[in-house]
Amino acid sequence: MTPVDLQELTAMALEEIARADSLERLDEVRLRYLGRRDGLVTLAGQRLRKLAPEERAAFGQEFNRASGQLRSAMEARQRQLAAGEEEQREDGEWVDMSHPFRGPGQGHSHPVAGLIREIEDIFAFLGYQSVAGPELEDDQHNFQLLNMPPEHPARDSHDTFYLSPPAGGWLYRTHTSPVQMRAMLASPPPLRIIVPGKVARRDNPDPTHTPVFHQVEGLCVDRGVTLGDLKGTLEYAIRALFGRERRVRLRASFFPYTEPSLEADVACAVCQGAGCRTCLQKGWIEILGSGMVHPEVLRNGGVDPESYSGFAFGMGPDRIAVLRYGLSDLRDLYENDLRLLECF
């Protein structure tokens, strides 16, 4: 065999490598040419020993080059074929990845509960602790300690559910404000609390009333708390809830347990303040009542009004949810219709 034969042999092998269309075939080709015992190229190499020393060097060089070339061609082809087979296997495992898959999935928040958590989070950022209080109260905490003695005209808007005997001494709280009193009596100032919870008033259910609804009460008592602080706090919270562009206004009002008292309105989102059905032509929607805690109420809570002042506010997440999500009937909030819940 001469280097020329070796070249021919190599060319044949390369061609067969290229033609091998599976790893199995390729292995046959490898055995035929490079098989350790009787591969054609292996056999050709064994002839090296029989050559004259002057030929040996040149042939050896040629042999090494040829077998190297074959090995790398073999490896390359093997990689190629292996990849192809993996592709085929994967092709066989085809999945429609465009399928709009809906898994068992996440459950949904109730709009009011979600809003309450959002309000708690906003105030947590301002250092307020979320606390709860009893939903059944006595007249003392619900009214009297909050400057509403029996026959007080402000009780008119607090149409109250009373319990039957033997629990006749209890009522369903009409607002979350009694928790203010309980918080003040429980721990000395400074106090920053937020109190979400259910309240009840004896209103027949209609699109704007449910006999049970939610309130979120806030209270801040410390040295030197001002009405400006109340305003800044409310503006921050309202913008956080309604968007930074929403106009807010504070208006004088009256609550027996605050002095001065204010209500906060946001511009009506439907008419942008021009007046429409949603806002009863007012252009503004009332969302919150607030004020500086009345000195008498502080005193009732065991806080010295000469050293401390505070503000309190209360908002209705049910109403806010209806406004924010464009719903039309408060009663829908208590049907728990999944078609509504799934929006949240």
Partner: protein
Amino acid sequence: MRVSHEWLSEMVDLEGVEPARAAELLTLSGTEVEKVTAYGVGLDQVVVGEVFGLRRVEGSDHLFLAHVAIPGQEPREVICGADNLFVGALVPWARPGTRLPIGVEIGRKRLRGIWSEGMLCAPDELGLGSEHDGVLILSPDDAEAGMPLDRVYPADHLYELEVLSNRADCLSHWGVARELSALLSRALRNPDVSRPARSGSGPMVRVTVDSSADCPVYLAEVLTGLGNTPAPAFVRRRLAAIGQRSLGGIVDVANYVMFEVGQPLHTFDLSRLPASEKELEVGVRRGRQGESIPCLDGVRRDLDPETLVITVGDAPQAVAGLIGGEASAVGADTSQVLLEAANFNWARLRSTSRRLRLRTEASSRFERQLSPHLARAGADRFIHLAVRHLGATLGPGAAGGVPLTPASAIRCDPGRISSILGMELSSEAVASPLRRLQFEVQEDGAEMLVTPSPYRTDVTTAVDLAEEVGRIIGYQEVPGTLPPIRQAPPLEALAEPVAHLASTTCRAAGFSEALSLSLVSGEREGLAPRLIGDLAHLELANPLSAQLGSLRQGLLQGLLQSAHHNQARGQDRVRLFEQGAVFWGRGQERPEEPWMVALLDLADDSTEDGVSRLRHLMALIASLSNVGGGGAVEFRPVTWPALHRARAAEVWAGAELRGIVGEVAQPVADAFDVRGRLEVAELRLDGWLKPGGRPGHAAPLPRTPALVLDLSVAVPSRALLGPALRAVSALGLPWLEQVTPIDEYLGDQLGPGLKGWTLRLRLRHPERTLTTAEGDAARQAVLRVLELEVGAKAR
């Protein structure tokens, strides 16, 4: 309350102040204006015409042909559908070419072959209220033919006010004018209350008030010489504008004074009172048991010692502050009256008003703590108007009654007001708004002595003054700030509330959040499965309906109703949870309010056996406990009312029962009209889960390999796995790290009444590798326990 812009402008200069601007100022300062409507605007083109002739239009049963004229012109024919016309009537006539305030242009119209020259207008067509009962008939006292109608009805705007419950002083034009005067910084013009001289005709009045707490002021005057004179035109027009009907001169003027000054008045027909020529004994006392009085509205009302009455010669003549008696009512023939301007205890009036189920313009003012100082202004204004416009003469006067204590001064530090409001205000900046509100302000060194207007009963302390200053300056002027945090909030504030943890966990498991009213039907509550035994039901004393008559004792009734609601709307899978307080009665003691969560999983699928959903629910309970730091939970099978008898378990954490899980019994599902299997759970969270949850316990990672062995046994088919596993761990086998059930075989190869369990035991020695022999010993030990506990056999 309705207030007229034109009327207000008599008491405060409103030149150049648009009604919308006035409305905004009032609203921001606390007197909310709900609506502003134009009243009689643009009536200059409508003319007053006189009806000269009137006949029916032939062939019509409701149309009339009127001949209407203005001086110097021939009468014209106008067709009209109203039946209140008469010859000589003065009527608003919109001639062809007139544009009415409601936007309609009037033309010549041909009706039944007759050309109608414009139209005769009803009040609503002129923008004068909503009345449409007939053509507006004008009084010859107010109008004459040929006059443009705007001379009778000057352009006006009406404000619909929502007055705050502590601001009785704003329930009048004068009161609102005082507000606008302060807000606009324009002078206040008080109503004319100049009194004529006394004539001496009529009896002298002697007033006896039993209790000045019931009646702090009672002013009485006799007026004589009144004829059947109508109230002057401006009185009738203004009353009409605010929606008050004209009821004759005396009553109209009394009403006018109430709406103008704010003081309710009552007039008694003197001739119908038991009085002598010389003297009249008026008393204010409590009613007596058995007394009654026929009232102005034709209803006889019983009196009692809680009711305040006005008497003449000890005979009840009126329920004080509420309603007059029929016997002494003023009528068309009244020529002399006893005028009452008084003030009554607000709380007493409120309870009387509630007891009699009667509320009047007068009582609604007294109830709100009207100032007793208004009585004098009210009486004087009535006397002024009656003498001037009704021809009255003032009688000799009254004796008795009690003197009023003047309003007392409030000492205040302007610096304190600044610090309440959070604004830097000079003394002058504090004093100015107060002075504009007719408060007297005297400097006293660094402090001020402020005497509020006598008509304000709501201003008594320094913080009240701060509110006055703030609202008159306007809260838009207060800079918004945040209170500094000088002391760290309590560490508890850092913890995530249990309600958040529970909600997040349930939602992550695919359950959606529900909220129900806490009021339920007591009857259905008994049906719903619940965690508690026989605690008393709490019922409302004054429920809206039986459906909402009880307080919920558990959360499942609400969820079952929601399940029905959703299923009825086509949902075939309903997964809901709710958390909240429930209410358990404790006799007279404070009711208990446990914080609960309930979960419900409903599938409307008859081929599905519910087991995997029930297992999923139980797994969720375990993870709730895990995230809330509630420890390992254990399920103990029970039979429970309203639950499937073979699919119910108590949920225990440590030594405490925390809830119930199971499948709702079919009859209960039927009672709530729900199809399909309902898997439910109800758990009490308070006292179990902790705010913020608790990080799980972590042990150092082991350094030696575990020996893992599987043990397959045959057990009776009703064998319980929970107690079996508990027995294995109670064994306290050394190095046994974990026992996990990995398979349950329910086929019949094991023989009748048997099933198979495969448990995987994991053993580990802390320092060395365990030997096979040690593993076998452990396996034998476990097998023995299982044999004892559930009769297991190796297989």
